[in-house]
């Protein structure tokens, strides 16, 4: 796909989530939602009204909700546990570990409003640690769509998978970039653009910053790692072997994020590679009207990306 094909249409990932889930639930009577008091924020009013007995409202009690979701799954249901990422999987991590993962239950943990992208809500709501918390749990798979289109492709695949999963969603509407004809496969990445000089890896809408014309002067190989776990190590290593330079960008803490997974992968492979990880560096977020101001402040803006690309290309 060429960057120029970008349609620049803005749409909401969480809205795409709720609409797709509704459509899936029409066809599949086994789909349940266990909600944690955030029904309107996840656009679940329509689901709750249509599927009264399949919409279980737990109130703002994340631990119990995760346990109820696991128990429902044990009775044969496919359960979506919906909340903000800063509450679930943050407050109920030990329940996700024991009642969901260790008990092999098919629960999809949906954490919305992740990252600095939640903007004016401030540090308490800007979940920057969810990928770290979820990546380390045995058997749990981790996903984050780049846009609403990928969300629509991803959700039916997750719904039909028998394994537990964490799905990271984002608050503001973002541009649509996912190719209409591309299907989503667990464990496979999406090659946004081929190039020869630098491999750029990331997940979620932060990666769409690279669709701007500012990046045309670089020969970048941009890979959308929406399947964060399992990670498409084959594609990543093949690219890094070719370019010898790698930039990972994510709206998350450096610690425990995709950058950690990728650098670990590269070191073990023995491939020689210059590496830069752009992420929040051991600090908390803060409020801002536009999350672009936060991306600028925390070194995740197009400007910071270009600076890093130049550094990777320099001889020193």
């Amino acid at each position: 796909m060429k960057i120029e094909d970008c349609r620049l249409k803005i749409s909401s990932i969480r809205q795409a989530f709720s609409e797709t889930l509704f459509d899936l639930a029409v066809k599949n009577p086994n789909i349940y939602v266990v909600d944690i008091g955030l029904r309107p924020s996840l656009y679940l009013d329509k689901f709750a009204a249509r599927f009264k007995s399949r919409f279980i409202e737990c109130g703002v009690a994340e631990s119990n909700a995760a346990g109820v979701a696991a128990g429902l799954s044990a009775s044969g249901k496919t359960v979506f546990l919906t909340s903000f990422a800063c509450f679930s999987p943050a407050l109920n991590w030990a329940v996700i570990k024991q009642s969901i993962c260790y008990n092999q239950q098919n629960v999809k943990i949906v954490g919305s409003h992740a990252g600095l992208m939640s903007g004016d809500l401030g540090a308490t709501h800007q979940m920057l640690e969810d990928i770290a918390l979820m990546r380390c749990l045995p058997s749990l798979e981790v996903f984050a769509p780049i846009d609403a289109l990928e969300m629509k492709k991803m959700l039916p695949v997750l719904a039909s998978s028998p394994r537990p999963a964490y799905l990271r969603l984002f608050r503001p509407p973002t541009i649509e970039v996912y190719p209409l004809k591309l299907s989503f496969t667990i464990g496979k990445s999406h090659l946004i653009r081929s190039g020869s000089d630098i491999t750029v890896l990331g997940y979620g809408p932060i990666l769409t910053q690279l669709f701007s014309d500012d990046f045309k002067k670089f020969s970048l190989e941009i890979i959308n790692c929406s399947s964060i776990k399992p990670l498409d190590s084959e594609t990543i290593l093949k690219s890094v072997k070719k370019t010898g330079r790698c930039l990972v960008i994510e709206d998350h803490q450096k610690n425990g994020g995709l950058g950690d997974a990728v650098s670990n992968l590269i070191v073990i492979s023995g491939i020689k590679c210059k590496f830069i990880h752009l992420a929040v560096d051991d600090s908390f977020g803060q409020s801002a009207k536009s999350y672009f101001d936060l991306y600028h402040h925390y070194g995740l803006s197009p400007l910071a990306i270009i600076e890093s690309l130049k550094k990777l290309l320099s001889k020193t």
Binding site: N64, G67, V68
Partner: protein, 266 residues
């Protein structure tokens, strides 16, 4: 109603022999939560040996996973696991883990971190309304906030097919429950949350069976059975001594004395 409390219930002899099994198992493993296992064993015997429930269809969720020695000996008594396997408890590659695990036949829930089982049981009861889900929790476990979230939830969803039995033995790892974190009386709290509550002597099979029967007949209210028990019941010098919450290797003399006491009662 006439309850022949003084005459021996047919399950009493089973109670004595399974207590001995628990001691042998824990002594062999040089590890195990003996106090709670001995306080809850009669509850489990009543549950698995009454005709009230069929655990091929009804569900049992052990929330306090450390009480698994008591569950393992009952599962062996019901021929769900081979009796000789009891001596593998807590050992490497055993199906009988130190805290309950799904590899054990007859187990529907793996636990160890306290306070989670009642939520799981509520979810299961919600998804399988045509059968009963019975959960076993402990008094110490009620320190956990998640339990109270689950209590409210079960009431909201009118879970008449959910039963929570609480083993109230009065002790936890570091002391008496009253000293560590006084929770006050549990019965009235459950009542206020909209549950039905029965309080019984957790070592009296007549009372346990009657309470289970009443709980089973509840239509829209989740049922709580408060089973008052004696910590480490059956071994006099361990009874009500929190130091016997969990043990490592028992000195030979202590083991023999404990065995002698349990055998004498046999």
């Amino acid at each position: 109603m006439f309850l022949p409390k003084s005459s021996a219930h047919p399950l009493s002899s089973l109670s004595r022999s399974l207590r001995l099994d628990i001691l042998e198992m824990i002594n062999h493993a040089e590890f195990g939560h003996i106090g709670g296992s001995l306080s809850s064993i009669d509850i489990l015997i009543a549950l698995y040996n009454s005709d009230l429930f069929n655990f091929n269809k009804d569900h049992f969720i052990l929330s306090a996973g450390h009480l698994c020695p008591a569950l393992y000996v009952v599962l062996a008594q019901k021929n769900i696991i081979p009796r000789q396997e009891l001596l593998t408890y807590g050992l490497f590659a055993s199906r009988l883990q130190g805290h309950s695990n799904l590899d054990t036949p007859g187990l529907e829930y793996a636990s160890g971190a306290l306070g989670q089982g009642l939520s799981f049981a509520s979810g299961l009861a919600l998804g399988d309304k045509s059968h009963h889900t019975i959960c076993l929790t402990t008094d110490g476990e009620h320190n956990e906030g998640q339990i109270w979230e689950a209590i409210a939830f079960a009431s909201k969803y009118h879970q008449g097919n959910l039963i929570n039995i609480i083993d109230v033995n009065g002790y936890q790892l570091g002391g008496s429950t009253a000293d560590i974190m006084p929770m006050g009386e549990l019965a009235s709290k459950y009542l206020h949350f909209g549950w039905t509550v029965t309080t019984v002597n957790g070592h009296n099979f007549y009372e346990l069976e009657k309470a289970l029967k009443t709980a089973k007949s509840s239509s829209i209210y989740p049922a709580c059975i408060i089973a008052k028990t004696t910590f480490a019941k059956g071994i006099s010098f361990m009874e009500n001594k929190f130091e016997y919450h969990d043990i490592k290797k028992l000195p030979e003399e202590i083991y023999l004395n404990a065995k002698k006491e349990l055998e004498a009662k046999k």
